[in-house]
């Protein structure tokens, strides 16, 4: 049980450290990658899935900025400045937005712990047989039940 909990915490910590790890050395951004990471503000799909006028305009903007030598992060920052953070298909892996990445993992770990705990309690109950908290039948009631059953048998 404790081992399971420790494994969950370790997985969460590992995921968190991976999420906040700095990007590797910059290579020129690819148009297709950015179109898959930016959301069209009117149709709420990624640019590569959209043919709306504003999506077409944003694709042109990305093309121009790549040609001008901007990095992917710079292009995204410029689009966020214009359209707000909702334009990013994935929330940033920093600050408050990091919660969007960590909470599902935390929920998964809590779920595993809860299910594990319940399974452990049920398996123990099956091993010991009776529920220790179950006081059983009142002796007087048990005697009356026996008498009633005996009467039916007669």
């Amino acid at each position: 049980m404790i081992r399971l909990f420790a494994a969950g915490v370790a997985a969460l910590a590992l995921a968190g450290s991976t999420l906040v790890a700095p990007a590797t050395a910059a290579s020129p951004p690819r148009q297709a990658d950015l179109e898959a990471e930016i959301v069209c503000p009117t149709c709420h799909t990624t640019l590569d899935m959209s043919t709306s006028p504003i999506a077409a305009r944003m694709k042109t903007f990305i093309r121009v900025r790549i040609a001008a030598g901007d990095s992917a992060e710079e292009i995204k920052a410029k689009l966020v400045d214009q359209f707000g953070p909702a334009v990013l298909a994935e929330p940033p892996k920093r600050g408050f937005d990091l919660l969007a990445w960590l909470l599902p993992l935390a929920a998964l770990v809590v779920g595993i712990v809860v299910v594990g705990a319940l399974a452990w309690i049920w398996s123990r109950r099956r091993e010991t047989g009776a529920d220790p908290d179950d006081p059983g039948l009142d002796p007087d009631l048990e005697r009356r039940v026996d008498e009633e059953l005996a009467r039916y048998e007669d």
């Binding site: 503000p41 009117t42 006028p53 504003i54 305009r57 214009q82 359209f83 319940l118 309690i121 220790p132």
Partner: protein, 190 residues
Amino acid sequence: MTGRARTVGQIFAIGAVALLLGLLVWKLAFGSGGGAANELAKGKHPAAPAFELSRLDVSGGKMSLADLRGKPVIVNFWASWCIPCKDEAPALQKTYEKYRAQGLTVLGVDAQDFRQDARRFTKRFGVTYPVVYDGSGSTLGKWGVTGFPETFFVDRSGRLVGERIQGGIDTERNKAAYARGIQAALGQAQ
């Protein structure tokens, strides 16, 4: 399962149900659900949803709808990439020039657009009325805007009057409603 585990389980279950019910009630009470346009369509005259946005025509300036309280206002939501917005731009400018002396103003809300494109648009069409910039479209839900252009009329008390106009104001379909909206905003409704 022990009695304590059962109680904890029940508390979790009741808590989860209460949380979901709370979210449902909150959504029903405060969710946009069509925004002010929906209320207007039901014949009500809700207060025009407030906003404060940066001005497109004045560098570094901000403008809120409250700044125009006491004046009739035509609020026009548009974007530079929208074709009908280009078609109606001259008519909006003409309205502004015609009714300005009566206190009426036009307020353009450029949404989901590039600032530079919007500035080029206002220059190209000779727009002289105030225009604010809402790149993220934060105002759209509250107003109930579902496309561009859309036009609303606000009277001197800050309430929505007339009809919400979807599409160009100078189209055959919308001309009469546009004229009625102006009169309602001016307080001269028939």
